[in-house]
């Protein structure tokens, strides 16, 4: 707790005013509107609305398309989070073994961090486009019937690959930092005791990385849930069929394309609940390591 402070009474409010104003106008007002809208039903022309209680939620949760989106989201998020973390951890362990050239590898590894998610999707689409994709041609030459624009599971594979590619950079930087923070004496002690490198990794290094891994798990899940909208929108548009329609994509699609306001709002509220749960988990975790006072 800080003992010395400035005595001004009005000044702090003036300093806070811009952030509070933006927060209230663009965060709290819309969030409240989402709650309100989620309990209203609008007629087809938007002329009248009536209160329908939880009917929108019941409708959404009973909708097979929503349950499909939920399933797609779970598969997509798990695949992206786990593969992006596993590959990044593997590469971080490799780079730690290297003496010269570390900086060179790192400089190249961070490029995708700066690429917009939507563009990450487009880059992969360029490569694997069934028409002119440079990497799609050899796949077809090998007799593989590659067409992500028509086949759901291939489309899913493509967006997972693009989303994973984009996130490896971020995870890599954190795993490298995490590995560097592990006391070298512990690993040396294990080596003296005759532990193999593999054994030392799984029994010492990996457990000590747990805070980093856990932090990344939450960040990657949030990334896969929300930030990947651009990839889905730019590459597959939720298709083919509904094979790559995630929850966020459906909120957007139902609200902006199909103009079903009440249902879109109900889905927004459900998403908010999911994010709040994730943030709560993350905060409990941060709390143990950082001071708030």
């Amino acid at each position: 707790m800080r003992r010395t402070v400035f005595p001004n009474k009005l000044l702090p409010w003036l300093l806070l005013a811009p952030q509070l104003a933006v927060t209230l106008i663009f965060f709290y007002w819309p969030a409240l509107q989402a709650f309100r809208q989620s309990m209203l039903k609008e007629d087809a022309f938007g002329l009248s609305t009536k209160f329908v209680g939880l009917a929108n939620f019941r409708k959404v949760l009973a909708d097979p398309a929503y349950l499909n989106a939920l399933k797609v989201t779970v598969v997509f998020s798990l695949a992206v989070a786990l593969s992006a973390m596993a590959i990044a951890l593997f590469l971080a362990v490799q780079v730690e073994k290297i003496r010269c050239g570390k900086g060179f590898y790192r400089t190249l590894m961070i490029w995708p961090y700066a690429v917009a998610t939507a563009i990450a999707g487009m880059l992969w689409l360029f490569l694997f486009n069934p028409g002119f994709g440079t990497l799609a041609a050899p796949m077809r030459a090998l007799g593989f019937n590659w067409n992500p624009l028509l086949k759901g599971d291939q489309a899913m594979g493509l967006v997972i690959a693009a989303a994973t590619w984009k996130q490896i950079s971020y995870n890599f930087l954190f795993f490298v930092a995490g590995l560097q923070a592990i006391p070298k004496s512990l690993i040396e002690a294990a080596a003296i005791d005759g532990a193999s490198r593999r054994h030392a990794f799984w029994t010492i290094v990996f457990p000590l990385l747990a805070p980093t891994t856990f932090f990344l798990l939450v960040v990657n899940t949030v990334y896969a849930l929300f930030d990947t909208f651009g990839i889905i929108h730019a590459v597959t548009g939720g298709g083919p069929g509904r094979a790559t329609e995630t929850l966020v994509y459906k909120v957007y699609n139902d609200g902006f394309v199909n103009l079903m306001m009440g249902e879109s709002a109900a889905q927004s509220v459900i998403l908010m609940v999911i994010v709040i749960a994730l943030t709560a988990i993350q905060f409990r975790f941060i709390e143990r390591r950082v001071h708030y006072g």
Partner: protein
């Protein structure tokens, strides 16, 4: 100690290099591909596999793109796209730094009623990414008449709990003695900020600037919603439009040039400011 895990043998190190090279190839290849594709003609791009070396049409492609040929596929010139995206990215980065420094300064260096409540009010917004409140935020924008304006692109993304938390955390590490000494010397809040706090914050400001510039440059959903007119498109959105309306006439060489122009500036920022960016990212977000 040649066999210590800290100092792998030559063979193990060679293997590590091998894996890193494989990793880097996968990471860099998609970017390398568009770079190469942007130097070929449309006919060459459409006839896979594309050669892995630069073609001869590079100069022509870029000259055509900058001389207004993007307008035919994107609706506006590439200069407008780059300007819009730069304004948005800079507006978000600078705006976030200014307003979050102000509020963190208020929360750390002053005592006033509802101080903790204000902190929580800001902190909770971490839980409301724009993706979960798409429709209602859009309606607010319509009500305020901010559709198709720079203010509309920037303002809703400018309030960030992360930057505020970060500055707050950093300000809390400033020793009390420093503030005491400054006050004994008669420094007010402004003098203390300008002469002591700001110079100490520069590294953090640089790190946040990079992170937020990238964040602003790569935005997708928000510009998609609040811009209708082509004149207000960001380069990412324009690219998406080019691809969705692609047909037999699409000049793919210009699409590739646009892709390169959309990814090169943020990559340059990250690579050139790597030192601050990596330190800031890893230290601030955990």
């Amino acid at each position: 100690m040649a066999d210590s895990p800290l100092d792998p043998r030559g063979g193990a190190r060679m293997l590590a290099h091998f894996w890193m090279i494989m990793g880097v190839i996968v990471i860099v290849f998609p970017i390398y591909y568009v770079l190469i594709a942007s130097t070929h003609t449309t006919q060459e791009i459409l006839r896979p596999p594309l050669p892995l070396t630069p073609g001869s049409a590079g100069l022509d492609n870029y000259r055509a793109a900058f001389n207004g040929e993007i307008r035919q596929i994107g609706g506006v010139s590439v200069w407008v796209l780059l300007m819009n995206t730069t304004i948005m990215a800079l507006g978000i980065a600078v705006g976030k730094i200014v307003i979050s420094m102000m509020s963190a300064y208020a929360i750390v260096f002053f005592r006033f009623p509802l101080r903790v409540a204000c902190f929580w009010l800001i902190f909770i917004t971490l839980m409301l990414p724009v993706e979960v409140r798409i429709m209602p935020t859009y309606k607010v924008m319509v009500t305020l008449g901010l559709i198709d304006s720079y203010a509309g692109l920037i303002m809703p993304l400018i309030a960030s709990a992360t930057a505020t938390l970060l500055f707050r955390q950093f300000f809390m590490t400033i020793p009390d003695e420093l503030l005491e000494a400054a006050r004994v010397d008669g420094a007010g809040p402004w003098r203390f900020f300008r002469d002591i706090l700001w110079p100490l914050s520069l590294t953090n400001v640089a790190a946040i600037f990079v992170i937020q510039f990238i964040y602003g440059w790569t935005q997708y959903l928000w510009p998609l919603l609040v811009t209708n007119s082509n004149d207000m498109n960001t380069i990412v959105i324009a690219l998406k439009k080019m691809i969705s309306f692609a047909d037999a006439q699409t000049p793919w060489n210009l699409v590739m040039v646009t892709s390169v122009l959309a990814i090169a500036p943020p990559i340059l920022v990250v690579v050139l400011m790597q030192r601050w960016f990596v330190k800031g990212l890893v230290e601030t977000e955990k």
